[in-house]
């Protein structure tokens, strides 16, 4: 599979996206078939590309000096690329049904598919400049999606999202510059490409720059001081909040931070320094903050958004441990959380789509009326809580094992935070489950007669996700093995 | 302070005039007084420039009686530059005066801040 393929795979979604509003489809069915077909084709190409990986890199544009926009697939890009390629067709299928109610869905699907290409671009970037290039494009392409409903809140939310992201990217930019100047090659090299001779006495400036870049990219990964945009972005239609604000965009932030820590600054350089403690403290605070805010929130999607904030910081906690085991934990939670969160967001979307209710106190007794959706929601809730036998437990186990192995007292406190947040997750997820399955004794089911399960468009992705959750939970050895190989640099 | 302040008294006067013209340009409220300040400043510069060329005991650089040795005449370049400078200040003053006329015709005042306030009020309504 020659390297040109990498660029084609990123290009196809761009072209399909642009083609959708232009081609005059007679029936909506044609458009859906066309779009789903091309997205599936692209995912197939991505997977075949990941199967037999081309070694050398592929340069698209020679930017300035020695900086080029170029792609290369290594372990990390296989994980993120594979994840995105797996989830996108399902999410598109789901959004066909969901977007029936919304207007000008052509524009929506255009930006939605272009985001697919941009995320793949981030995954396959060979060096920090290319990743930064697609990282900024991601913001620009996702703003119209957040703004899709064009109501007042949507406009304000998209504006806040834009300010936060551009601000964050500005500080990420500073990190990128230092890497370009102080590393012997801007490409990603596991173990860091910093050239120690050049650094000389300026280590503490570099550490300060690392913290700034971490917070810069952290804005997208919803790190504590900069995450108020994520709950507000709940105003967007569910396919957007589910896929982007639970999987693609925020994971891109986490992916960028992993690249920054493991592949640019290098773990030996950062481990044990004050930068690690500062960064880990922020992440631990975000874990607890996210969950405690979620408990108080009564809007379903905002509650899930806050839970995303805390789960993202799980991944960052794994990253900040700065050991190969930590990376394994981070990667496993990145993949498993993506599956769990997209499943619960889609359930929330199904509820809002079918019944139009979006507040927790309106959901009494839905369990009996929508058994399949709420059954899946319960499984995803249990998985999020980390009940053994589901994939949540596996990733928590890897994270905790890495934290314990790192002998860093702050990491021990981190495990405590993980468990406190698990308890809070139990509170805010199970209170929904109990409210729906065991409503008060005198509750008459006629008031919610109109509530019933959505059709197979929505249920198929949901059931696939549940199967994935349980499958990963019971038999996670091969995938964790794959992550360990990546962490040790085999790929 | 250097040695030849009193030797270059001409340039010193030019410097003081430049300062006065500059102050006038910034401080005066009335537009025409600003233009006068501007002209003072320009003439100060040309005095400063003319002083450059002068050599004691030598006449203007017009060849008289076939004498073409350097000792007979002063340095011609500054006077050439002054000539050009004067034309510049003439044109600039003409431009500023016509601007003042147009502003006066419309706002009947020569105070620039007053004019900008009147414009704001005009736009407000």
């Amino acid at each position: 599979m020659q390297p040109m393929m990498m660029f084609i795979v990123v290009l196809i979604p761009f072209l399909t996206g642009i083609a959708i509003p232009l081609i005059p489809f007679s029936k909506r069915g044609h458009m859906m078939a066309f779009l789903e077909g091309l997205v599936l084709l692209n995912s197939a190409l991505v997977f075949s590309l990941l199967m037999h990986r081309p070694e050398e890199s592929f340069a698209i544009v020679k930017f300035t000096g020695d900086l080029t926009l170029s792609f290369r697939i290594d372990g990390m890009s296989m994980v993120f690329g594979g994840l995105v390629a797996a989830l996108w067709p399902l999410a598109t299928l789901y959004s066909f049904e969901y977007m029936k109610h919304e207007k000008n869905e052509r524009i929506f699907f255009m930006f939605y598919t272009i985001t697919y290409g941009v995320t793949l671009g981030i995954a396959f970037a060979e060096d920090l400049v290319t990743m930064y290039f697609f990282y900024e494009l991601l913001t620009l392409v996702t703003v119209p999606l957040v703004m899709h409903t064009l109501t007042r809140e949507a406009i304000l939310a998209s504006r806040k999202y834009l300010y936060y992201s551009l601000g964050g990217a500005a500080f990420g930019f500073i990190g990128m510059i230092f890497i370009i100047v102080y590393s012997n090659s801007p490409d990603f090299v596991l173990g860091g490409s910093l050239d120690l001779t050049k650094i000389g006495w300026r280590t503490d400036i570099l550490l300060l720059v690392y913290v700034l870049a971490f917070l810069g990219f952290g804005v997208k990964a919803a790190v504590c001081p900069f995450n108020s945009w994520l709950p507000d972005a709940g105003v967007a239609p569910t396919p957007v909040t589910a896929l982007l604000h639970a999987v693609a965009v925020v994971k891109a932030g986490a992916f960028a931070i992993i690249r920054l820590t493991y592949y640019c600054f290098g773990v030996e350089f950062l481990r044990g320094t004050w930068a690690q403690t500062v960064v880990m403290a922020i992440v631990i605070f975000t874990i607890v903050y996210g969950c405690s805010r979620a408990v108080k929130e009564t809007h379903i999607k905002r509650r899930l958004a806050f839970s995303t904030i805390s789960n993202l910081s799980y991944i960052l906690f794994g990253v900040t441990i700065m050991t190969p085991l930590g990376m394994v934990g981070a990667l496993s939670h990145m993949v498993f959380h993506a599956v769990m969160k997209i499943c619960s967001f889609f359930c929330a979307g199904a509820i809002m789509y079918k019944t139009g209710r979006s507040y927790v106190h309106q959901l009494d007794g839905f369990g009996r009326r929508m058994p399949r959706v709420f059954g899946i929601f319960t499984v995803s809730a249990l998985a999020l809580m980390g009940v053994p036998g589901l994939c949540g437990f596996i990733s928590k186990w890897n994270l905790a094992a890495a934290a314990v192995a790192s002998d860093n007292p702050l990491a021990f406190a981190g495990i405590g935070a993980l468990l406190i947040s698990a308890l809070l997750t139990a509170i805010y997820m199970l209170s929904i489950v109990i409210r729906t399955f065991f409503p008060a004794k005198d509750f008459d089911y006629e008031t919610i007669a109109d509530v019933e399960d959505p059709n197979w468009y929505m249920l198929l992705p949901l059931s696939i996700f549940v199967a994935a959750i349980i499958g990963f939970g019971l038999y996670s050895a091969p995938i964790v093995e794959f992550f360990t190989k990546i962490a040790d640099g085999v790929y | 302070m250097g040695a030849n302040l009193f030797v270059n008294y001409g340039e010193a006067v030019a410097a003081v005039l430049f300062g006065i013209g500059f102050g006038n340009l910034l401080l005066q409220k009335n537009l025409i007084k600003k233009i006068i300040g501007l002209n003072i400043m320009d003439s100060a510069v040309y005095l400063f420039l003319a002083e450059k060329g002068y050599i004691i005991g030598r006449t203007a650089p017009i060849v008289t009686g076939g004498v073409q040795s350097v000792e007979a005449y002063i340095n011609p370049i500054p006077s050439g530059l002054v000539l050009t400078g004067i034309v510049v200040s003439v044109s600039v003053s003409a431009l500023m005066l016509s601007l003042t006329i147009r502003l006066y015709r419309r706002y009947h005042t020569l105070d620039l801040d007053q004019i900008s306030l009147m414009i704001k009020k005009e736009e407000e309504t």
Binding site: S431 | G2, L27, P61, T84, R106
Partner: protein, 326 residues
């Protein structure tokens, strides 16, 4: 000892809560986990009105024509700052002047080989007796070319501002008829003394101007000064005999074509000499015998062209200021 607490008081004490929790009657979680439903925030009518009123108040205060307090403060600060700035500037200039090379001495860096060549073989190379006009019209001709265009640009801007369009009535400004009316009211008409003086002086002034232009390369003077003199003469004539008389020989069209003709001649002549100079071609224009009127190659025609431009510009400025037309 202590009086028995009433029911409400007891209910507020810590002991009551602790024991209630201890024996599990009322536990802190009951009913707390589920928040009351939160309605989204709707902006009531008067809040909107209050917001608009407050916005207007701000803009009113900001643009208040009456001298508001901080405007005065700002002015005082601006005045003080500019006075200090000027004093510093004067001190600095004096400080530098004191270090400059002494005026009048011959051995200053200014008197290097550049003026020496001008003086020694200026006459041979340019053919001009007056070395300064030789310098400004031949050695450093590019500056003077720029110079005349500065004057030209200034005239263009003055035309833009002051020229009144005959056909259309300007919006808001005064029309051509009113301008004429004003002109007639304020300017003197058929003032006998002025007319007699002009009758005598104008020819002398103009002849003297022509003399200065023609002798530009021989003695002091040149295009700029001669033109100015002729311009002054024309202005005196206009003042004395009014617009009808001057329009007989000097209308806007003549002005346009004279300035165009002389400026383009000047431009072409100079570019010819630059082009031949740069490419080391021989300049066919003869230098002529030094001292004679028709000597020093191009300098004489250039002087004439510049003289004409300057004269017309002076007259145009004056006409524009008076009537916005010719």
């Amino acid at each position: 000892m202590s009086r028995k607490k009433t029911e409400q008081e007891y209910r507020k004490t810590f002991a009551f809560h602790f024991f209630r929790w201890l024996n599990g009657e009322k536990d802190p979680y009951l009913g707390e986990v589920e928040m009351k439903p939160q309605e989204p925030y709707k902006e009531t009518e008067e809040e909107v009105k209050a917001r608009i009123r407050e916005k207007n108040m701000i803009s009113r205060r900001l643009y208040g024509v009456a001298k508001s307090k901080e405007m005065k403060g700002l002015e005082r600060f601006y005045k003080a700052a500019s006075i200090i700035f000027c004093c510093i500037l004067i001190y600095l200039l004096l400080f530098t002047v004191s270090y400059l090379p002494p005026v009048g001495t011959a051995d200053r860096p200014v008197n290097n080989e550049v003026p020496q060549r001008y003086i020694e073989n200026g006459l041979q190379e340019t053919g001009a007796v007056n070395i300064v006009s030789g310098m400004i019209l031949d050695y450093r001709a590019f500056d003077t070319l720029g110079e005349s265009h500065v004057l030209f640009v200034a005239t263009v801007t003055v035309l833009i501002l002051l020229r009144l369009d005959k056909k259309k009535k300007n919006d808001g400004e005064i029309s051509i008829e009113e301008a004429e009316a004003n002109d007639r009211i304020y300017e003197p008409k058929n003032d006998a003394i002025l007319q007699m003086a002009a009758f005598v002086l104008v020819p002398i002034i103009i002849i003297f101007g022509i003399y200065v232009i023609l002798n530009g390369h021989l003695g002091p003077g040149g295009g700029f000064s001669g033109g100015a003199i002729i311009g002054a003469g024309l202005i005196l004539y206009l003042n004395a005999f009014g617009f009808q008389k001057t329009e007989r020989f000097f209308t806007e069209k003549t002005y346009k074509w004279i300035s165009f003709g002389s400026l383009s001649f000047y431009c072409i002549a100079k570019s010819y000499s630059f082009f031949t100079g740069a490419n080391h071609l021989h300049n066919i224009i003869p230098k002529g015998t030094p001292g004679a009127i028709l000597s020093s190659g191009l300098i004489l025609p250039l002087n004439i062209a510049v003289g004409l431009v300057v004269a017309c510009t002076m007259y145009a400025f004056y006409a524009m200021f008076r009537k916005g037309g010719f």
